[in-house]
Every structure is written in C-alpha cells, then in structure tokens.
Amino acid sequence: MFSKILIANRGEIALRIIRACRELGIQSVAVFSEADRGAHYLSLADEAVCIGPADATESYLNIPRIISAAEITNVEAIHPGYGFLAENAQFAEICRDCKIHFIGPDPEAMTLLGDKIQARKLAIKAKVPVLPGSEAPLSSEDEAAQMAAEIEYPVILKAAGGGGGRGMRIAHNEMSLRAAFHAAQNEAQQAFKNPDIYIEKYLEQARHVEVQILADRVGNIVHLWERDCSLQRRHQKVIEESPSPSLSSDLREQLCKAAIRLAKAAKYVNAGTVEFLLGPKKKFYFGEVNTRIQVEHPVTEMVTGIDLVKWQLRIAAGEPLKLRQKDIHTKGHAIECRINAEDPESNFTPCPGRIDTFIAPGGPGVRLDTHVYRGYEISPRYDSLIGKLIVHKKNRTEAIACMKRALHEFKIEPIKTTVSICQEIISHRQFVKGKVDTGFIERTW
C-alpha cells in the first residue's frame, strides 16, 4: 500500500479522501489555492501545500503546479477526486511519466471513454444497448437533419469531448435542430476544446440509473449494484438513491452485467460508473462512463458496506480485489441529498458567503460529508456543493422519513441552500411513489 499520497482536489471530496487515508494509515498531502487557505479540512491532512491563487486554472487545474507539489512532498500517488483534473487523461499520463501513480484508470481507458462517440461504439461492440444515433461526429447541419429524420424526433445533440450535461441540446423538430447545431458545436468547443458533436434519439421521461464498478489490475471486476439519479436539474443531479425504486430484479441484473461487459471491453481499472437511461418501457440504454469517483458514491457505500475510496487506493497500489461478486449485496435503502449554496427561490443562483449558523443533523441512520462549519466562507469561485447528507435505513419508506427529519434539523445561515428544495422534493407524492424522471424537477418547480 502507499505510504503517502497527494490529493489534487478541494472541499468535501478532499476531506473524504483524507478520511480514507487516515483510516488506512496513509499520509495525505492536501493542496490548496489561496482562497482555501485556513480551511479546517486542510489541517486534517498530514501536510498542506499552497499551489496558487484562487483562480482554478492557476491552482486546482494547473498540472505543473500539482505535479511540482507532488514532487516536493515526495508522494507515491495522486488522487484526483472528481471534477478538476479527474477525467483529464493527459494529467494521468503526466503522472505516469513522472512515476507517480494516478488513482484512477489508465490514460488509455480514460481517452477511449472520454470520447463519447468512441464509448458509444464500444458499447455496441460489448452488446450494451445504445439509443439510435450517429457513429461518427456530425459533419454538417444537413447530416444532422438527415439522421434526425431517420431516428425520429425528439433528438439530442451531445458533445463528443465530454459529458456531465454540458453542451447538450434537445431538438423536437428540424427547425430547432438546425438552430441548435452550431450553438452545440460552439459550446462543445468551449467546454471541452473539441467541437465534435453527435446525435442520438432523445428519450423523454427517462430515468437515470448508473452502475458502480470496481476492477483491479489482474482482471477481477465486480459491480456494486446501481444508483438512481433521476432527480436532476439542468442535467445536474440533486438527489440520488440506491437501490433504484424502478428496477425489477431481472432488469437490475441485466443492467449490472451490461456495465461489467462494457468495463471489460474498455480494459477498465479502478472505480468507475456506467450510466444508463431507463426508458418508460423499462428498456435501458448506455449513456456514458465516468472514469472517477462520483459525488454520489456514498449511497453505494451505505447499502453495500464497502468503502469505495479505500478500494480506489488499494487498487491503484496494485492490490487485488478481495471482493467476490456473490458476496456483494445491498442492504436497506440509502438516499443522498446534495446541499448546495444556491438559492432555490432565485433560480438556483450560487449563494456564496460566510456561514454564521451551522447546526448539522445527526443521530441514527445519518451520514454527513461536508468540509464546512460555522465560520466557513464559501468562495464564489468553486462548485457550490457544500455537503452531502446521506441516510441509510431498512427500507425506502424509513429512509425517506429519516431524510425528512434530518433536513428539518439542518440549519445553515445566512446563506441560502438547497435544503429547502430537497425537503419539498422528498415530501412530493411522486418522489414517495418512486415515480420521477429526469425532467421531474424542471416540470414541477
């Protein structure tokens, strides 16, 4: 196992990784920008190094500075967390060149799966269902219109260079498709420095269900069942749960096996997530693969009892997976609410500022992953996620009751947070019935 690693991230996921390191007896080095100086979680790492000013391009996104920090602190590996450089294959490659382990898949798998058109092709090869769509970047507006006519509207334009909801455009007819085409290209170029876009049939009222996998270097691969992340706003997940309330056990098996097939085809190593869309007719289709730890990984940890971040570290250090598929079961039900510093009453605009009151929920069934506390100043520069509230109970009904009471206890002032909207969602009849899709929040609020 490693004796010392560097964490190339900030906030709650940096703290999550520090915690795993502490429990495994690994020394951790935190890096921070000037905006994060003094944050309590930095003092929980064994060392902390300032790598640059607040601007992420000069700190958390700056590869030379991070590698340099890794060199002066003499670490054996880097954990990229999520966001920032986590899905940057070039960063993984530079780590390899510098003889520093990158805690994630190989750069080859990242490059392959990072190109969403290639990933789609791979899915087809691995006999994983995909939605009808293009198999190469669209060369022109006309080609897009022709494809759309074939696969029938509505359709969605997606960026080849990256996922996570950015650069996506939905079109319900040719006019809106043509209007969206160039905008989508530009957005793709801006977000991912790659103008390639492709087209797919757009599934309305779909659910987002994803499968967590773990694979080691010697060919062992297991899935840790699914997470349901259908509650989204602008393609951003808001509430996640496991198991999914909308899968039969047969469909569940199929989905998980498909995820394994795809991961094997990509020669995937370490923790990863295969996302699927689940249509109204209970058919599922490949979405994309996230080659990193997910924000919502705790729901899987709660129901399986398996610590995903610890396994990321062990796998990167070359340890074989000791988990056998037949021993991995889900127990009870877990739900996660993302607590963002955003004002739900004002179109979810970020709401940075100093926290003057912070009273956190606790008690049975409650897990809170957060790096903030009373006195913490939320910077407007970074992600608005300030914490994740996770509950784990015997069944979904009890989990909902527990989440309700935990949200009720949560007091964060004076900034606005998504606690209030999460309360509304969790109490909504449709959510309680387990009958929501990815458009539910936008239709309802």
């Binding site: 100086r37 930095l42 300032c50 000013p53 002066i72 602190t73």
Partner: protein, 157 residues
C-alpha cells in the same frame, strides 16, 4: 484581557479618532464604539481575524512539509518588502551548486533582477524580483521546498 489594556485601547482610539474597534483573539473578543454614530471621522476597523473564525488557531495549514519557513502571516519589520515564490517547487539560491548565490544579505537588487531559481517539474525557473532595494533577510534555505506565495526575501526599499 486586563482593564489596563482596554484603557490603553481606548486611549489609542481617542488619540487616533477611531470610532469603532473590534479585536478577536482566540476566545477573547473586544468591541468598542466611540462617539455617537458620527459621520465625519473615517471609520477604521482593526481586525485580526485573518482566519475564518471558528477555526481559531489552525495554522496557515500545516505548510509544506520539508521544514520550510511558514508563510509570513506574522507582521514583519515595518517597511520591508517581500519577494514571494510565484510557484510550488524547490528553492535554489545559486544557478549551479558551485556558483555564487544570486543574492546575499546586503545585496542591492533591482526590479526584474533574478534572485533565485525555483525548480518545478525538472524545469529551473529564474525568479525575478518585483521590488528594488537591499536584501535584509533570506527566509528559505538552499534546496528546500517552497509553496505558492511563500516569502523568500525581505528587502528594504
């Protein structure tokens, strides 16, 4: 906090025409307001709450491992200027092991004069001073690690 000290603070406020003063130091907090809510006089707030409160004495994070000086949070001698490291890396005081050091105490330096090398990712970066003056102190020892923003030299203008 002694009464005497408070008295002295008030004297300072009066002498300098301060109308508000607040000091937080660990668990001690002192807040003073003077005169009616007068306009006129400039409102000056003296705070020593550099850190987010509630974290009290967390040091400037544990600072780079390798025994380097802490980032200068403490107040330096008045009127001295700092040359800080613009990057994370390893500090070298001379261009090569046997060469003369770029500067020593007492050296007069110009703006844009190279004062040291910081190695980052095998690249030797020449660091230029943004200030001119006389070097009064060298805060980092040869071969040690520096983090972003860490003071390297103190210069008297």
């Amino acid at each position: 906090m002694e009464l005497d000290q408070i008295k002295e603070l008030i004297e300072m406020m009066k002498a300098n025409d301060l109308c508000e003063l607040e000091i937080v130091d660990g668990q001690t907090r002192i807040a003073l307001k003077r005169g009616s809510d007068v306009p006129a006089a400039p409102v000056v707030a003296i705070t020593s709450a550099v850190m987010p409160e509630g974290v009290g004495n967390v040091p400037a994070a544990n600072s780079a491992s390798t025994g380097t000086a802490l980032p200068a949070e403490t107040i330096r001698q008045e009127n001295l200027l700092e040359v800080t490291s613009p990057m994370v890396g390893t500090y070298f005081s001379a261009p090569s092991p046997n060469a003369d050091t770029f500067v020593e105490i007492g050296s007069k330096i110009e703006k844009d004069q190279v004062v040291c090398i910081i190695e980052a990712m095998k690249v030797m970066n020449e660091i230029k001073s943004e200030v001119a003056g006389t070097v009064k102190e060298i805060l980092v020892s040869n071969g040690s690690s520096v983090e972003f923003g860490q003071p390297i030299l103190l210069v008297e203008p």
